[in-house]
């Protein structure tokens, strides 16, 4: 059972994470190592003006966010996490004008690393726009540890 309330996560993300707020990225479901988010179509996020298709970077942002939620809800208590890597396969263009939905699952948590997979789609989860696998570091230091200064020559 997750120790993190999904509703609180979604609200906190929208309120406190500037980029999530800027995009209006909504958390629609979360819990037990899973998360779902939705992004309304916006013309300012288009990557190809000829077709109106969303830029891949926007999809990266939605997927990175929802993967983070999946990891948080797989943990017993909230800790700082940091994306280590994401591999995103673009399977087909996102349909212009349609909402983008992304769902992530954290399928393995180890002492230091969480493993996730995610997919994004418009209408049908069986016909995804993108598929992703990623890893997250757990318990990243939230404050930079000062490095020892190099010894100066006496």
């Amino acid at each position: 059972m997750s120790g993190v309330d999904p509703k609180l996560i979604g609200k906190a993300m929208l309120e406190h994470v500037p980029h999530i707020r800027e995009l209006g990225l909504e958390l629609t479901d979360a819990g037990n190592g899973r998360g779902t988010m939705r992004l309304a179509y916006q013309e300012r996020l288009v990557g190809d003006p000829e077709t109106g298709v969303l830029n891949g970077g926007v999809i990266t942002t939605v997927i990175d966010s929802v993967c983070g939620v999946a990891v948080q809800t797989a943990l017993r208590k909230p800790i700082t996490i940091a994306t280590l890597d994401l591999r995103i396969d673009y399977l087909r263009p996102s349909t212009p004008g349609k909402v983008l939905i992304a769902e992530a699952e954290c399928y393995k948590v180890t002492r230091h690393v969480a493993f996730v997979r995610a997919r994004a789609w418009n209408d049908d989860p069986q016909h995804p726009v993108a598929h992703c696998v990623g890893t997250f570091m757990l318990g990243s230091p939230s404050v930079r540890r000062p490095r020892p200064k190099p010894e100066t020559a006496a």
Partner: protein
């Protein structure tokens, strides 16, 4: 056709920012492009709306990924005379350091360009180029 025109005028004027102007999402990020002897330098301004971790604070990982992808696409369009935006097939982003919400740079190298597919490697850094904040490799479909 608008895009083709933008790419052609950008190249003719030696002003890659005209290419940025044609892509809504690049404008949204506030990207700038500069021509350098090593290729196009892609510059993301420090902007609070791009923050993904307000505690550190750090740029959103997706924005860092978007910058790398944009630098790869721009380099490809600029150097190879493409007339459409290349489509990303896959991109792998390695996050190497937390990226603070300050000016961030990215530069891509086209490792191999075939008839249909191009392989591009990109690095992003902040004050110190020798300390990259992220790196990516991507395959793009050319048309």
């Amino acid at each position: 056709m608008k895009l083709l025109h933008a790419i052609e005028t950008a190249r003719a004027a030696g002003d890659p920012d005209r290419f940025v102007e044609a892509i809504p999402y690049f404008r949204f990020l506030g990207l700038k492009l500069r021509e350098t002897p090593q290729g196009l330098l892609c510059i993301l301004p420090g902007d609070t709306k791009l923050i993904g971790n307000p505690l550190l604070p750090a740029l959103h990982g997706g924005v860092v990924g978007a910058l790398l992808e944009a630098a790869g696409i721009s380099q490809l369009v600029w150097q190879s005379g493409l007339q459409t935006v290349p489509k990303t097939i896959t991109i792998t982003v390695d996050y190497l350091r937390s990226a603070r919400p300050v000016e961030t740079f990215a530069q891509g190298i086209v490792t191999r360009q075939g008839r249909r597919v191009a392989n591009v490697r990109v690095e992003a850094w902040q004050e110190d180029r020798s300390k990259p904040v992220a790196a990516a490799h991507a395959h793009f479909l050319l048309q």
